[in-house]
Symmetry: D2
Subunit: 385 residues, 4 copies
Amino acid sequence: MVRVALVGQGLVASTFCLGLHRIKGGRAGLEGVPLSDELPVKVEEVEVCLSIDVDSSKVGRSLSEVVSGYFPGEGLGGGEFERVEVRRGLHLGSTHGLPIEGVGLEEMYPLERALDELEETLLEADPDAIVLVSTTERFKPFGSREELEDSLKSGDSSRFSAAQLYLVAAARYARRRGGAALVNGIPTSIANDPVLLGLAEESGLVVFGDDGATGATPLTADLLSHMLQRNRRVLDVAQFNIGGNMDFLALSDEGRNRSKQETKSSVVKDILGYDAPHYIRPTGYLEPLGDRKFVAMHMEYVSFGGAIDELVVTARINDSPALAGMLVDLVRLAKMALDRGLRGTVYEVNAFYSKNPGPKGSKNIPRTVAYERLRRWAGLKPRWL
Amino acid sequence: MVRVALVGQGLVASTFCLGLHRIKGGRAGLEGVPLSDELPVKVEEVEVCLSIDVDSSKVGRSLSEVVSGYFPGEGLGGGEFERVEVRRGLHLGSTHGLPIEGVGLEEMYPLERALDELEETLLEADPDAIVLVSTTERFKPFGSREELEDSLKSGDSSRFSAAQLYLVAAARYARRRGGAALVNGIPTSIANDPVLLGLAEESGLVVFGDDGATGATPLTADLLSHMLQRNRRVLDVAQFNIGGNMDFLALSDEGRNRSKQETKSSVVKDILGYDAPHYIRPTGYLEPLGDRKFVAMHMEYVSFGGAIDELVVTARINDSPALAGMLVDLVRLAKMALDRGLRGTVYEVNAFYSKNPGPKGSKNIPRTVAYERLRRWAGLKPRWL
Amino acid sequence: MVRVALVGQGLVASTFCLGLHRIKGGRAGLEGVPLSDELPVKVEEVEVCLSIDVDSSKVGRSLSEVVSGYFPGEGLGGGEFERVEVRRGLHLGSTHGLPIEGVGLEEMYPLERALDELEETLLEADPDAIVLVSTTERFKPFGSREELEDSLKSGDSSRFSAAQLYLVAAARYARRRGGAALVNGIPTSIANDPVLLGLAEESGLVVFGDDGATGATPLTADLLSHMLQRNRRVLDVAQFNIGGNMDFLALSDEGRNRSKQETKSSVVKDILGYDAPHYIRPTGYLEPLGDRKFVAMHMEYVSFGGAIDELVVTARINDSPALAGMLVDLVRLAKMALDRGLRGTVYEVNAFYSKNPGPKGSKNIPRTVAYERLRRWAGLKPRWL
Amino acid sequence: MVRVALVGQGLVASTFCLGLHRIKGGRAGLEGVPLSDELPVKVEEVEVCLSIDVDSSKVGRSLSEVVSGYFPGEGLGGGEFERVEVRRGLHLGSTHGLPIEGVGLEEMYPLERALDELEETLLEADPDAIVLVSTTERFKPFGSREELEDSLKSGDSSRFSAAQLYLVAAARYARRRGGAALVNGIPTSIANDPVLLGLAEESGLVVFGDDGATGATPLTADLLSHMLQRNRRVLDVAQFNIGGNMDFLALSDEGRNRSKQETKSSVVKDILGYDAPHYIRPTGYLEPLGDRKFVAMHMEYVSFGGAIDELVVTARINDSPALAGMLVDLVRLAKMALDRGLRGTVYEVNAFYSKNPGPKGSKNIPRTVAYERLRRWAGLKPRWL
């Protein structure tokens, strides 16, 4: 059994719920779940025990109702999600500029009280893994442990982004519970932030992240390593993404866009070893695309004798399922890490599932290699090595 | 020093010559040569000592002249290729239907005499590696060693394709010389033919092959393994190729096309483990494209919760440089294999460089994994493992 | 009211039926019907009065049942198509090589008797327009009226393709009824065959055709005229199509493919005025694509000062709806032509709706121009002229 | 003879010069010049008599030198451009943020004096057509003639963008000379600004514009009209552009980008008649692309019976030649307009050559229709009507 808390009950979290529901009911297979039924913890054992959000139209309703709102006609009523009520979480302006009315605990109470409330909510629900899939946000890393502690003491919640404060809450929860895990699906530096990771390690918190490696970034990584392995010199890479879900709307905001751009761009230098000129970033919002995104990538490279070749990739990808499927692995791997008594982060997991794998200073590697190293870590036979 | 014999002095072999010339003259880098300057045998040590063809307009002329014919204005005259004369080889209808007037040794002499002539030519030039880059051909595998020997005894050259008979000649040459290598860049089964490979092993011949893994096939392999690693179910794959060089003209012939189609298609089942419906084959000839080819690939797959995604790749690739760059590695790896006293084939080499890696029954694996195994075999540090 | 007979009750004809049903029931709009509700004859007035096929699994069943077979769950039962029974038509090997068991009237009776039966069937149903959407077929044009008459007299049905013989039957029907129309949606030369067109004219038969201008061909025409209007010189055009419906399966047959290739290729010279090198043809069959087709086109051209540009189009198109929507116009235009007392063919209609617009010697023109000329012919205000 | 003044001696103007030079020398054809040699005024009659810029590294040098700087090795020295010296023009911050050191006349003199200087320069060189191809700029339209006159009187040059002030100078020049033309190749509203156009009309100035219809916009127009003509409902359009020339660098600036975005976006509603959701704008700057741009477009639409199709276009286009080729027509058409005694703007010309055809309130129409109307205006036989 893996008990899961979802933080940010948007489309990704709801796709996660719906997918689990369908798989358990035999109405969907394990497509999109990378390690499928190979892990000792089975997909059927994953259970959602808590959902947290700040959207006033969600807080207080049953998880079942909220998920059904995204997928009418899926008949989720009366099932496993009926018993879970959406609870209020932290806001910190994370929905700023979006058509969402949200109120966070930190707007209702002083900072310490807000953290206490959250801790109680977590203790009551008792999740093994807390999954962070709230909106992409602006953030400022903490320079030192002192700065973090001072900010907490001063009660100034505005220094924190929502994800950073959730990390603090998760660490406190892990300390009291005796171990827990946080899976970070958004670009905020958590596994890559030495200060936050230090706190996690001390507290017995496992952290996976940062930013789910879905969409075009892992594909770009594989294409770049394809070039590297043939010693082709990449001249330039342009990559555009456009979609119609809340995440793309949020990324219209310049500050959020920059967070994303950095996790997406690091892949070029990490894989190639040199910083080939590139333009890789979320590009626009186009409402009718809904949860689908359209991706276009253009790459030029030098081949033998100076010949110049050109590669173009275009794709139409369902955005939320890509991440939701990975979360099904990540919460199970989190449970395995806890069972092994680990704390802090695990590069072998991050390297495959994250756009910006922690800890800080780690590199993106070709996903095929990451896959084999992940399998070894998970106790599975490598597939080709 | 690696001494190289080129069989089939067409565009690939000539691009190989031009590239070497430029690299040695400092006018081109090592782009497109996968193992670059990492191998103990350096690119500068590669030397062409023999060129074989059947085209009457080439035989008897200097290699310098023939290569310059493909690349006028490159100033190849007076250089290293001046001393090499293009010698007559085997025909066996390999240029059938193409605008080439060719006469093979087997059309001038009885079969045994033709093989003797070839053997003498080889002994005189003393190549370490014989590189087969003649035209894609129809062929029929030999069912048994007896069938092979009987065909040789009967003097019936028509049972053989050119590549098959070159293998026989190379084996005889290796036996007399005390070791040599054959690098098969075309689709004919050589490394995948147990009868021919048996002969090679007995004779001290190293064989790499079959069919150079250039163009869209290795890219397809990497994309398919990308899907597999995320447990996405591939619904269908369509891949088209069109180009304007002699190889595409040759592939207009149905029989040759089938040879190619098989080496290209095997990748689907090899990588995915199931035979996803696919249409993968060279599609057409369009003269103005010249040595460039246009590739289009369409793939659909099932993601989490049954979502269906779509991936399209289009590329414009210079065809001959892609293979020529790999040959620069292969002849050096051939020399290393000979220095290690090997005979027969080496899967670790084939898995990275060949569309249809021998020996028979071997599978295509993700190229990234093949790359790391190749590096280990070549005594290099894996890059990521 | 327009009474329609469908010949070849496959996916296109069934999509036509379903679409009409949905439109009449208010469950679909007029998307894909070029002239929409602008014509004096309204879409709601179109009525299917006859369906003809040779497939033993269809003949004798209600049209409602057959259409429902293609679209289960659409609830077509009990509606307007219940009263129409699928009647046996001509075969002439048109389903050769396809997984269809078909028997034609000409296999049951002597040729004249078969034609008589067909004529009676038509007279009984009394269609204004006979729509030919049977399988793409091989055919040989008639050299002269004598050859046609002699073939009929000799009773040798094998000289005819199905479409050619349907034309004969339609002409006889038109003569007896006092006017009728044949809409040719397949590549067989009917409107482009002077002998058949002569017979039609004499008999009071209106003929529209040949081959529905759906998919990539009209798009190619528009892109080529885009180039021409900027005086860009087109260097080469490659166009691939792959699909999974019966038509693509049929086109795997070399002879049928050639019929199609010719109607598709003529567009290059017609529009540009010179025969830019091109490779344009249906390329393959891939079952899981079903009625969707994947199209890829690559074009290179010279711009100002000798600059070379490159254009790539890829598309995923639902095949049958594209033609079915045009048929909704064509049968209404046929009715208008009959009301105007016309006979023979109408270039203004063909130029917009047909890949190979008749009469013989006519040219493809940019579809935008064809559109405006069509509007004028139909009594509508041009949109931009 | 057509005498041309180039304003903004960047890549477009220099490509225009080089192209003319090559054509006159018989080293290039008329590709990319839409009306080719059909006009009464021949391409060979086009002559550059003046070049204006603010870049300190260009002003004072010969046109020959400046053009050679863009195209070294083209041997432009000693030819027709030797006699033309680059003269200083207006700046008004148009190069703000770009790596260009520029000083404008208005920075050296009071406004009236600056305009006088410019007028004298023009009178001396005596151009028929003044071609505006300076950098894309921010601008604010004038609300009334009074506002314009007041700004001039007050001597406050900062109210003007460079293009707006060039219009004023061109109008004064036209008044004194007795007719002249301004061809506006950039997005600033000139032909679309009633106040400026009024001034032009009074002064005997012909104005063509606004913004050259190159690249993806006219292609999008043609694709949208393709959809409209088939009554397909467009669901969404996304279009990305990335390039490496100064214009793309300039468009990184948000204000400039907006100018461009508006001329590009208007096409959707103009052609379709409804404002289908779209994201169409210049997207990014990627230096190694140089003058080439990479374009990607994604379009979804509803076909018959509700089927949803998808069209993707990707292109690699040489940016400057596309506009330069059109300018060769525009200056000749300008001469024809002057010979006919026209003043103000000519929709028939703008509709084909401009992204945002003036006068204000005019619509984009399918380019094929625009082409035929243009031909008629130019006294040429329509090609298909």
